[in-house]
């Protein structure tokens, strides 16, 4: 199978996968949950009508009340309590009692103040930057002994290209989910994106490792060596991802409701990571190498 020769097809598929999400991200952005935006979130059992909730919240001065039914028989109630943080719990007790009077059981209640949400957002951005830098450095270090024509840095940067692909795909998908299904992103979402990044590199390294080994042993064009390496590692790339995807599917279908979106983000990202490590990271090495060769020839 000639994977490298068809690389334009793979790049196109990636573009088709990523562009809608990126457009949605630019137009609608992400729907930020209380972790990033501060506010209150109450989760109740059953599908509860907005009218019932409005009735329970009457007189409490709650603002921006949004009621979203979630998958398995739960309803999320998002609002903002303009009273001071110290009074939130008193108001919440009244609200909870009013819901209980309607026969609605509250499962959990979160209240995040603006200083905390600012910190969570800053930490999220900081961790994204740190993870990306550390991974480029690590991959470049791990591949420092790579024989020519490839520099260790190109391994690092192609691994980053692949992980950006996966991160963008997940973030884009959640932008679309946010706009159409009111899915909010929280601190756990950032964790999912970071884990996806770690996994994406995990997969990519397996192929890169084989390319390095084959570069030492085999004669032949760089393209052929990369193509052979991808094919030789195809079964393990797919199988290692498959076992992870199977466990994530078990979690998505049977696991706890409150982390369902977290698991979904992981699942989307890891599936994308499998694709990008086979069809993007290594072909990009070839594209990049060809570009350098051409430029060098031009310079002479």
């Amino acid at each position: 199978m000639n994977i490298i020769g068809r690389r334009k097809i793979w790049y196109t598929i990636s573009a088709v996968m990523i562009v809608p999400g990126v457009i949605s991200l630019l137009i609608f952005g992400l729907k930020l949950g209380i972790d990033f935006n501060s506010g209150e979130l109450s989760v109740v059992r059953g599908s509860v009508s907005t009218a019932t909730i409005d009735k329970a919240a009457k007189g409490l001065g709650y603002k921006d009340l949004v009621v979203t039914p979630t998958g398995s028989n739960e309803t999320q109630i998002r609002f903002r309590d303009p009273a001071t943080q110290a009074k939130h719990e008193a108001n919440h007790q009244t609200f909870k009692a009013a819901l209980a009077a309607e026969g609605v059981e509250e499962l959990s209640f979160d209240s995040v103040g603006p200083t905390v949400s600012k910190d969570i957002a800053q930490n999220a951005i900081l961790s994204l930057i740190l993870v990306s830098i550390c991974i480029v450095l690590y991959v470049a270090y791990a591949f420092r002994n790579t024989p020519k024509p490839v520099s260790p840095w190109s391994f690092g940067f192609m691994a980053i290209a692949a992980l950006l692909h996966d991160a963008l795909f997940v973030i884009g998908a959640f932008s679309i989910l946010g706009h159409f299904f009111n899915v909010e992103v929280d601190a756990l979402f950032v964790t999912a994106v970071l884990t996806v990044i770690g996994f994406s590199v995990h997969d990519t390294i397996v192929v890169f490792d084989r390319i390095r080994e084959n570069l030492r042993r085999e004669k032949g064009s760089f393209e052929t060596i990369v193509n052979d390496s991808i094919q030789e590692t195809l079964a393990r790339s797919i199988n290692t991802s498959l076992t992870v995807i199977l466990t994530l599917l078990a979690l998505l279908l049977f696991g706890g409701q409150s982390i369902r979106m977290f698991v979904l983000a992981l699942l989307i990202g890891i599936a994308s990571g499998t694709y990008s490590s086979i069809f993007n990271a290594s072909p990009l090495l070839v594209t990049w190498n060809n570009f350098r060769v051409k430029r060098a020839a031009h310079a002479k």
Partner: protein, 440 residues
């Protein structure tokens, strides 16, 4: 090649398997009893989202504290908050400093969150004021909550009215109070005790000087309020005012359901992965499943044992369980890399033993390099997630899973396969998902 023979390694792995299997089982105390360990219950510590309860985050206002005193202020703040939080009698309360100026309080199983917030967040600054009998003007007396050793709620025997009995600290505090009451007794001025600026006790006349360090204060309150005030005074005032900035509470039913769902998901995940490995890698898959079983038991044992080390116990949250289940899927990754490599070496015509050894050596670099990237992510997640304990839980379980699985997938599987290689039937390529014509 190796300083331990395969047999010794195998025996050690067998021993470890027996030990961790016993410890990981739910009723390990029954088995441990047989060996003479009494009351040796080990438990996986559950986070608030699993056992229900509330997590509160308070922010200290350090703006009026000199920067040199801030550390001391935060330390004593944590001491006072711990005392106050423990008054409710809820078990396993954890009070932790978060970053520069925040304190998180975990209250497992707490019923009345509002009461907890009020109790912990109140500054409880007790001050004694002198009130001029004629003008009503108030002047501070220099005696405050710091001079009080303890406070108890009591009934006034004569009026059968709830009172708060204060025990002053010995030495200067008692002397100063004696001097003050003597002065007031002579001048006829009144004594007022205020709590956080509210006139709580008095103003009252001082009928006789108090030199024994015991002051009985009456105010307009019932016995429950008197008890609460006594608790607040005993725990001491907060050195700096705090405000609640975050609250997360989970009802008990949701936590229980989450645990049940997660256990089910874990069992299904484990089974599906095991079936996949068995179908694809046959006999090698079976060995990988054994290693996976050891992996699971070993990880659970580490969770349980960590509970014995205060400050380092692994607290399992819902996201943490997700990290653990995810690591089950990853645990076999190293095995897949090794087995695929082995198939390749067998196809290239190597003998079984040679293929086995090459596979482990060659696959090791990719196993190491690829797992390091996940470990980097986990480390950074842990370091930057001080505000969000749920993320820390995930980072810890995932990192632990990666480390333990590297051990089980590489060391355990290799030993099992080397043992198996002694039997000729186990060297049959068919057992590893290869066709005979592929090897010839």
């Amino acid at each position: 090649m190796s300083f331990m023979s395969v047999r010794v390694k195998f025996a050690l792995i067998l021993l470890m398997t027996v030990v961790v299997s016993i410890l990981a089982l739910p009723r390990e105390d029954q088995i441990l009893k047989l060996f003479g360990f009494k009351n040796a219950t080990l438990q996986v510590k559950q986070g608030l989202d699993l056992q229900g309860g509330a997590q509160l985050m308070f922010q200290a206002d350090l703006s009026k504290t000199a920067s040199a005193d801030r550390e001391t202020a935060m330390d004593s703040l944590i001491t006072v908050i711990t005392k106050r939080a423990n008054f409710g009698g809820t078990s396993e309360i954890v009070v932790q400093r978060q970053g520069n100026d925040r304190v998180s309080v975990s209250l497992p199983g707490v019923k009345d969150v509002k009461d907890a917030i009020d109790r912990i967040g109140k500054t409880a600054n007790l001050t004694f004021l002198e009130v001029n009998a004629q003008t009503g003007a108030q002047t501070p007396t220099g005696i405050d909550g710091k001079d009080i050793d303890s406070a108890t709620a009591d009934y006034d025997p004569q009026k059968s009215q709830p009172v708060v009995r204060l025990q002053l600290k010995g030495g200067k505090s008692t002397t100063n109070f004696g001097d003050l009451t003597t002065k007031l007794n002579k001048s006829g001025n009144l004594l007022l005790a205020s709590l956080d600026g509210e006139p709580t006790f008095g103003p009252a006349t001082v009928s006789s000087p108090i030199n024994d360090g015991v002051a009985i204060l009456s105010g307009n309150m019932d016995i429950n309020q008197a008890r609460k005030v006594a608790e607040e005074i005993t725990a001491g005032a907060l050195p700096v005012p705090v405000t609640l900035v975050e609250q997360r509470s989970v009802g008990p039913s949701l936590g229980k359901e989450s645990v049940q769902h997660s256990v089910l998901a874990g069992i299904i995940g484990l089974t599906v992965v095991a079936l996949f490995m068995l179908m694809y890698y046959r006999f090698a898959g079976l060995l990988a499943i054994l290693a996976l079983g050891i992996y699971t038991a070993l990880t659970v044992t580490i969770y349980k044992l960590s509970g014995l080390v205060p400050g380092y116990s692994i607290v399992l949250t819902l996201a943490g369980i997700a990290g653990f289940i995810l690591s089950i899927g990853m645990a076999v990754d190293a095995n897949i890399l090794i087995f695929e490599r082995m198939k390749e070496e067998l196809r290239a015509g190597k003998s079984f033993v040679a293929a086995l050894e090459t596979a482990f050596t060659r696959a090791w670099t990719s196993i190491r390099d690829s797992n390091v990237s996940t470990l980097i992510t986990c480390t950074i997640l842990y370091a930057t997630a001080s505000a969000t304990p749920i993320i820390r839980g995930f980072a810890v379980t995932l990192a632990l899973g990666v480390l333990v699985s590297m051990f089980t997938a590489v060391v355990v599987t290799r030993t099992l396969m080397r043992m198996a290689a002694r039997w000729s039937w186990a060297r049959n390529p068919k057992l590893y998902g290869l066709k005979l014509e592929e090897v010839e």
